[in-house]
Symmetry: C2
Subunit: 387 residues, 2 copies
Amino acid sequence: MSERSLIFPSAEYRSRIDRLQREMSASRLDALLLTTPADIFYVTGFLTRFWESPARPWFIVVPSSGAPIAVIPRIGADLMGRTWVKDIRTWDAPNPDDDGVSLLSDTIAGVTGPSARIGIPSGLETHTRMPLADLRKVEQLIAPRTFVDGTSAIQRVREIKTEAEISKIKAICQIADRAFARVPEFATIGRPLDRVFRDFQIALLDEGADWVSYVAGGAEQDGYGDVISPAGPTPLEAGDVLMLDTGAVRDGYFCDFDRNFSLGPVSDATRKAHHGLWQATDDLMSELRPGMLACDAHHILSDSLIRYGAKPSGGRFGHGLGINLTEWPSFSPVDRTPLRENMVLTIEPGAWVTEDRILVHEENIVLRANGCELLSERAPYDMPEIG
Amino acid sequence: MSERSLIFPSAEYRSRIDRLQREMSASRLDALLLTTPADIFYVTGFLTRFWESPARPWFIVVPSSGAPIAVIPRIGADLMGRTWVKDIRTWDAPNPDDDGVSLLSDTIAGVTGPSARIGIPSGLETHTRMPLADLRKVEQLIAPRTFVDGTSAIQRVREIKTEAEISKIKAICQIADRAFARVPEFATIGRPLDRVFRDFQIALLDEGADWVSYVAGGAEQDGYGDVISPAGPTPLEAGDVLMLDTGAVRDGYFCDFDRNFSLGPVSDATRKAHHGLWQATDDLMSELRPGMLACDAHHILSDSLIRYGAKPSGGRFGHGLGINLTEWPSFSPVDRTPLRENMVLTIEPGAWVTEDRILVHEENIVLRANGCELLSERAPYDMPEIG
């Protein structure tokens, strides 16, 4: 099992920590406390599905210089010991009397002075994966040190992908490309949608996904009502638009794109909306450059959709992608995050087909100095007819 | 898709809210704020894999009387609208300026008086799935109302399963039973462990799991080094003990049990440890009754293991199960939670085979007034030989 547990050579993690410590210095942070699966995987390479158990908190303390310190439940010591992290402190969790609180507080106090500012990601798209009461206890125990917002430090680093990361995302996109190519084998008229969802997950696993963290979709006439529902047993019908969307995972990295299929011929309105989405995506891929803002991408997509006669849906039209299914920024009218070279992003405009049905079209790209490089295989201009 | 979106009739949810409001009253809570996928699914029936995206917070406010109120991103309005919840308030998320903060604060203020105590689960095995900075803003906006710990209210209710819930857990256990029965088809000497993990997930989906949130395991001589690693490409070898553990999901409910297989004959030490684990599990299933404490189960298992010549491993020996892969309480020496009728629990003693290899044996049960009722099919006394 050990062969896969590091994912990247130690040098990759050291360079991440160097970049993180530069950002921490710019934000005047004396240490950074990380608690989520993605942040912890990012700095350590610690990859496990055990996060599915909410029973235990896990902590990584990144000091202002030197390697990170793991403060974790004993059950994780063996696996963490196979990463590049050498300072691993454990306790028997879950412990109702002291679930890592004193060990974490001592660790923070050991690597910082009494006036230290301890960053903890607290802003948009973050949460703190530990009991709130314990966080408050740690806050008291480490005083006069204070917790301050560490969102920017971790986000400005994680949002720029290394070539090693881009290769991993490209690999899982190619796995999803191959699974999407097999959809006509099992998405036939009369087959229940929940069985199609299972078959699609099976195809993703069979093509090389380690696991499938996300599948959503829909199958209705003229598009679909929402894009986050689980599937029910309704059989596919002639004239349905089948959409399948996936976040599959390989080596801890996600793809996130969808594909639309028509079960026999679809309505003119559906065809026109699909063409508009395809063209708008093409326009954005031609125009997007580092230095633009996230909201600029939304404007370009909206304007294109309208130009091609499609009606833009609400919601965001794309987002970051990597070790979470969705990362910041958002292609929304209100997100002014600067787009930077080597951000990996989804482009996913949506358009209304009827009053209550939409189509969504999605690609995954990496933003290079001279523009977009596709990671997913470009969807066809005409929706493939299957069934 | 709508057929599956409610999971249970409205009466099930109403009775959950009634029980919750009685616990809230006992804890003098004027409202309860819920933020996690499991807590929100529990009171509403809102089931989606969209939680995989950490971009947006979701809130349910349970007032001291009456139905819960959903304060959620607009993208979830359609799906929430198909549950029994009728008061649904939405905003365009993610919004960097106000990501539901004012809407949530207004909602809390609208259903409570100024001196209200608002429960928020803050204790062992909880976390608050929203940005910490936003939680602090809400705290200020709702003052003089205060946040207090609401862990006990939600845990005392969720830990007792209704017959409808027990049926769901039984159904996913039976799916896993059928998938485990197929392991000899694909776990053969020479096959890489990561391919075996994929095949096992495929078998679970094929047998009816909606998705597979957790698979772990190992394959080594005399047991395995840890039980939370992802699989690497090492081929199965003669003499290996293959362990597969799964948390598969159907209708939002988990199973969580493992099975051990021997690739050809295994060592005497391995056989003896397996027999000890099996006997200890049998002993606990005979003796466990409502009214005992969680730590009593640990003592019974430890004592039995020693009596049968096996060496108890560290860590807990079982836990609650339901809409999370792991729920409280823990069969550990320090957990004094009373065991109650209709708790669904895992029994999972571990034993050292050598200095650094363990075996783990697991069953899922529901605790009835007169003792344990198996939900998983009882593992055989002798480890099945395959390969």
